[in-house]
């Protein structure tokens, strides 16, 4: 009897470990798909849609190297044109406002806020691999997706968990749910991916703030990968140009 209990327990532990490894494996594969390119540049169109269906549009150019360097520069509307942000490793961020004529170091607390009035937080926009930020658990498979539950590793995260659906064959995310600290679902994101060369590109991400009934669509176009961008392209000097 004792042996059978032990064996059952052993199988349970092994099964749990297998589940954890599978979940981590899936999550890492998802990171590999999302962050495979060495560098990337694109034109980004951000459409903000309020609860009455009224739309506002922002346009920007974006370039990224690896997972921790990004330069984002608004090109429209006129009131925001030229405003740029530079994100570097270790939470170093700069903001450039053309009217001030100089860069401003911004504190890492800004990451908890929404990015430029959108439904994405700076944290959401961060290109850090999910496997580094979250501990995954495989909940189930659903059609052609794996459903993972992600718990943040950092207590500073604004979320208590994420539920992510990952495409079984191509390992890109198709859908994400965001839960606040009270475990209420507050946002959901729908992804559309397309293949550009050897990489999967998120051509559209639709983020919905369920509480405010507000939607942000982020559309990428003119995407170019592996152009040989260097670290010199992600400096304060470049930010001010």
């Amino acid at each position: 009897m004792k042996i059978s209990v032990l064996v059952s327990a052993l199988f349970l532990i092994l099964g749990w470990n297998a589940n954890a490894q599978d979940a981590m494996e899936i999550l890492k594969k998802m990171d590999d798909v999302m962050y495979a390119p060495k560098d990337m540049s694109a034109v980004t169109k951000i459409v903000l849609i309020d609860k009455n269906g009224k739309e506002k549009v922002r346009e920007a150019t974006m370039s990224q190297k690896g997972t921790d360097k990004r330069l984002f520069r608004f090109t429209a509307p006129a009131s925001q044109e030229g405003i740029a942000t530079l994100s570097l490793p270790n939470d170093v961020m700069y903001l450039y406002l053309p009217s001030f004529g100089k860069e401003r170091r911004i504190s890492s607390s800004v990451k908890s806020q929404k990015f430029a009035g959108t439904d994405f937080s700076y944290d959401d926009m961060e290109a850090k691999p999910y496997a580094e930020k979250y501990t995954p658990k495989l909940l189930k498979t659903e059609g052609d997706t794996y459903v993972l539950e992600l718990k943040p590793r950092s207590p500073k995260s604004a979320y208590s968990k994420l539920i992510v659906k990952v495409h079984k064959t191509n390992y890109y995310p198709t859908y994400m749910e965001y839960y606040d600290k009270g475990n209420h679902k507050v946002k959901e994101a729908v992804y559309q991916f397309e293949k550009i060369g050897e990489y999967w590109n998120a051509k559209e991400i639709k983020m919905t703030d369920l509480k405010k009934n507000h939607v942000t669509k982020m559309l990428m176009s003119n995407v170019k990968y592996d152009q040989g961008l260097t670290d010199d392209d992600f400096t304060v000097r470049k930010l001010k140009q």
Binding site: P77, G101, T235
Partner: protein
């Protein structure tokens, strides 16, 4: 013969056909090449064309105290021109202000013939420069022309920002500078370090407040009894306009290490505010009224600066300091010889040092934090305001701002904004000032901003903002960007 003719004909016609085909091919190739080159040219044109942008601003203010005098009237058209060239390795930029500013000052019928008096206007080139990235070597940037060279990590209050002259026409917009015609070189060592050298050949002083603030920075003249001031005149002595006499030069070493942005700087130049150096007092009548003439001049100084900015535990932190060292004592000579009876002993003049040749420090420490709910808090402490000189004349300023954002940043409310000033810690209740400046800003459309704010003052004693206690005002601004 016939066949030969036929053959020849066939050869000729095939030849002609060949030629025609080749010609057609050439035409097609030529047309395709033309299309490509036109597209390339168009793409280059689009990338390198002159870009117009700018904004239209209306800034209106009236005093809260009856009869609610109009305190400020400004209608400004800002035009920005920008053109990139040389494969984005160069840029031309210009910013011009066209303004109707001030109120009609009509005193006679003759004034009605002058539109400049009816609708005062001015045209100002704020900046106009050419910039080259990778000049001579890939790590060297060059900027020539009228430019704003903004130094310092603090917000708006920058003791190390001393290359450009202060633009104090709107004293509530402290921290504003005018551009300077300058040669500006910056050399980059790797990605984290740079050294900058600036040469400004022609000195330009600060411009002082206008309108109701016109006397804000002018010290009052008090005559000892029984004398009474009747007339006042002044003159300003400018530095000579030559290579050595009027130039300003500066250098700055900037770096990033251990998560901290820092810089060290040096400026050798003229202080932008003149100081009285010769005062002549003469009798105006026999009843004790006097005329005073003050001659003011500028003084040279060395300014050593340092600043840093970083983020600690999510809190943005910055500090900035500057050590000012006048080149010489600034001496005020008071000539009252005309007041003395004939034959009276003594030189009739008296010298006093108004600014010693000794170092005085101005500095700013600040911090800010962004809350997850979109709120923002900013705090700064400053020792020594922009117009204060000398160790004993520097006051202490505490500024705070708390901002709330709503409706995806469409509405911003700043219910807490202002400052507390102390000019004498030994007698605070008689030497203080309080500024309270709440603000509400609303983006009616993507490019149209409406702004309502107030400026309320209270204070006593010898400090700038205590002079504004009668100028509580309501402000309304509209800004459209294009």
């Amino acid at each position: 013969m016939f066949f030969k003719k036929m053959l020849n004909y066939k050869c000729i016609s095939s030849f002609i056909n060949d030629v025609k085909m080749k010609r057609i091919n050439l035409i097609i190739i030529g047309a395709i090449a033309l299309m490509f080159s036109a597209n390339i040219a168009k793409a280059q044109d689009n990338a390198n064309k002159l870009k117009f942008s700018g904004n239209l601003l209306t800034d209106e203010r009236f005093l809260l105290q009856a009869p609610n005098d109009w305190a400020w009237n400004e209608n400004r058209l800002t035009l920005e021109l920008e053109k990139k060239f040389n494969n984005d390795k160069g840029k031309f930029y210009s910013e011009v202000w066209l303004r109707n500013i001030g109120l009609p000052r009509i005193y006679s019928n003759a004034d009605l013939y002058n539109k400049n008096i009816i609708e005062p206007y001015n045209l100002e080139i704020r900046e106009a420069y050419v910039q080259l990235y990778g000049f001579l070597t890939k790590n060297l940037d060059l900027k020539i022309g009228k430019q704003r060279i903004a130094w310092g990590t603090a917000d708006k209050l920058n003791p190390t920002d001393n290359l450009n002259p202060y633009d104090l026409e709107d004293v509530l917009d402290f921290g504003r500078h005018r551009g300077s015609w300058a040669l500006n070189l910056e050399y980059y060592f790797g990605r984290n370090f740079s050294i900058q050298a600036v040469y400004i050949p022609v000195f330009q002083p600060a411009n002082l407040p206008i309108g109701i603030f016109a006397k804000a920075l002018t010290p009052t003249i008090e005559m000892p009894p029984p004398f009474v001031l009747k007339g006042f005149t002044d003159e300003v002595l400018m530095p000579a306009f030559n290579l050595g006499e009027s130039a300003t030069a500066g250098a700055k070493f900037k770096g990033f290490a251990g998560g901290v942005d820092f810089s060290l700087s040096y400026v050798w130049g003229w202080d932008g505010f003149p100081i009285g150096t010769y005062t002549t007092i003469t009798p105006a009548d026999t009843f004790g009224e006097v005329n005073v003439n003050v001659q003011t001049s500028f003084f040279r100084q060395h300014i050593f600066g340092a600043d840093l900015a970083t983020s600690i535990g999510g809190v943005g932190v910055w500090a900035e300091a500057a050590a000012f060292l006048p080149e010489n004592d600034v001496v005020m000579t008071t000539d009252f010889s005309a007041m003395l009876p004939p034959g009276a002993p003594g030189p009739g003049t008296e010298d006093s040092v108004v600014l010693k040749k000794e170092v005085f420090f101005k500095y700013v420490i600040g911090a800010d934090y962004n809350f997850a709910n979109g709120m923002y808090l900013n705090f700064q402490y400053m020792h020594g305001f922009i117009n204060e000189r000398g160790r004993d004349a520097l006051n202490d300023y505490f500024f705070v701002q708390y901002q709330m954002k709503f409706f995806e940043d469409k509405l911003k409310i700043t219910p807490v904004a202002g400052g507390f000033i102390v000019s004498d810690w030994g007698d605070i209740k008689n030497n203080y000032a309080i500024i309270y400046a709440p603000e509400l800003s609303y983006m009616a459309t993507d490019n149209l901003e409406l702004n309502i704010s107030a400026a309320l003052f209270d204070g006593k004693g010898n400090n700038l903002f205590a002079n504004f206690v009668d100028y509580n005002m309501l402000m309304f601004k509209v800004k459209y960007s294009f």
